[in-house]
Point group: C2
Chain length 228, copies 2
Amino acid sequence: MQTLQEKLVAEFGIDFSDLALLETAFTHTSYANEHRLLKISHNERLEFLGDAVLQLIISKYLYQKYPDYPEGEMSKLRSTFVREESLAGFSRACGFDRYIRLGKGEEKSGGRNRDTILGDAFEAFLGALLLDKGEKTVEAFLYQVMIPQLEVGNFERVTDYKTALQEILQVNGEIAISYRVVSESGPAHDKVFEVEVSVDERAIGRGKGRSKKLAEQAAAKNAVEARG
Amino acid sequence: MQTLQEKLVAEFGIDFSDLALLETAFTHTSYANEHRLLKISHNERLEFLGDAVLQLIISKYLYQKYPDYPEGEMSKLRSTFVREESLAGFSRACGFDRYIRLGKGEEKSGGRNRDTILGDAFEAFLGALLLDKGEKTVEAFLYQVMIPQLEVGNFERVTDYKTALQEILQVNGEIAISYRVVSESGPAHDKVFEVEVSVDERAIGRGKGRSKKLAEQAAAKNAVEARG
């Protein structure tokens, strides 16, 4: 297996200087606790720093990208982008999961695939990167890894309107919600899908998107909003 | 009265380029709402940005200043530093209150001295400064205006251990808490005070600090912690 350092150079052009710092970013408390006598640092302090730099970079991105959004909308989007599940997804996509140092108990109970641990390691990595290379590099990394995914809505539960719709409708017992594509338009590289959502075969919303998944979300959003 | 621009140059060496942006930072929603037809921007979006840059700069400061603090302690300190009352205090100290554009109703009801409005304007100013001059300048401004005050604990309710102690002890009725200086040491520019806190003339804690006020807080903290 590639070392983490090699991987970072190869995939992101990041040549970490302080390898101890990098190691700390990938050390879960459970590992540090198991090796207490060695006084190994864990990643919680770096996570604190990484969270803050992430928030700022995402805030700047949203401010520039959506000049007409009120503060409330930007806040909502930001919290969706930086939520644990989303960060865990980016952590997996970067292959970070394989490099986290876990305690034995945590490893046994499946900690390596736990969203909290993966998301925290992602933030801790950003914190370490901030210290090692500065904010510009953190920004470049996020613009390579995270922002393009945000732009296509391709990450864990942006705002999961499908789930929201289900929760709203199922309050009164089991119901059958279905989605179907009603049209596809545009050239192959720039397709637009239109989806209709129905409940018990009655249409309650429509939406468009650049993938079926996004169009379904848009249709669910339309249905949720129609219910006021 | 000096214009805000003149004041910023004179006191902080900040020569704002985008004066419309600066004006927006000091425009409360109530003012924008009253002049709706003029489509005046208010400061909420800038506040969103300013809050994020403030959090990052304070996080970096805490990370470096307290290398032994766990994440939880840093979080607690950060939220005390950036709480509304604290930011409102810095806004007043900078004389920002006089420059905020308020709606008439808000002005009449004392909005100019309201912590929310003052704190938000402080954050919005940081946001505007970030856009106009970049993060280094925001950092320099905070290291001039805010950080020195944090270091001496001289801001609204850092963690007010004296009040905390009083609240703990008064649960069982009125009691007399007193503080007295038990020693002063060091040269004039670098004095250290030691204070003892007593309840009904029985000593319950001691603490040191670079001012009587700080030593009292330290003594109260010691007493609070001794009670577990």
